[in-house]
Symmetry: C2
Subunit: 131 residues, 2 copies
Amino acid sequence: MRVVLSNSSKVPLYEQIKEQIGAAILGGDLGEGDALPSVRALARDLRISVITTTRAYTELAAEGFIATVPGKGAFVQPLDRELVREQRVRQVEAGLQTALDAAGPAGLGRDDLVEMLDTLIQAEQHESVEQ
Amino acid sequence: MRVVLSNSSKVPLYEQIKEQIGAAILGGDLGEGDALPSVRALARDLRISVITTTRAYTELAAEGFIATVPGKGAFVQPLDRELVREQRVRQVEAGLQTALDAAGPAGLGRDDLVEMLDTLIQAEQHESVEQ
DNA sequence: TCATCTGTACATGGCCAATATATACAGTCA
DNA sequence: TGACTGTATATATTGGCCATGTACAGATGA
């Protein structure tokens, strides 16, 4: 488990940590019960404050990815894929609802929305190819 | 054309002005060619700075609702319903993009999104029946 | 022409949420 | 007991957004 931070990035440090550890868990590099580096060790390694690593761990714990145990450490939780999916699904729903709210006044119907969605998907794929 | 501001509202002053004038135009209370109060007159009336009224007018102009003419005043533009639609479409796109961004990590594909969309549409219709 | 109206450009100050921090406290375990 | 663990506290810094005053330039009618 190796975390790399970019200071030039506009993404907050604690967010970068969350993303990388979260990805490692989702990707299977970290499995249930695995111990994460302690907040202090990670802070020392990355040359940042303990509070920042703590924040990352706290939020990961709140999202169910890890469990923190005072005096012992932080450990990967059994990956509840259903829970993870639920959280993402809410974000998706929120976005779709926003689109839907704006669609009415714009005179756009269900089929128009689907069409736009397909267009956006294609644009996204095209973009990833460009890079 | 009467603008009323609420200081207790968390909505910015310039935004409140935009909303009310925009609504008046869309609602037909203001028609093509009608003169709006000058930025100074409106500022005096509302006891706020010229800069704030200017900001409201500038953004309304950028969105095609009005035209500002140095030395003359601000005037309602012919309501280009196509343009209005364009703007709504952008909001729709933004919502869809948000949903799309969240969909990837959630393991949701194109078909899943369409399905969710249909569900939301049904929920919406059901809601309107209830009311 | 000149007084007075019009919109516009500029730099600045206040506010607030988000980010990152140091340090002291409390639990675990060899 | 010593050396590790996570946690709670108050605080500093930053950056974006809102609102502002003032000086400038164009238009218009007496």
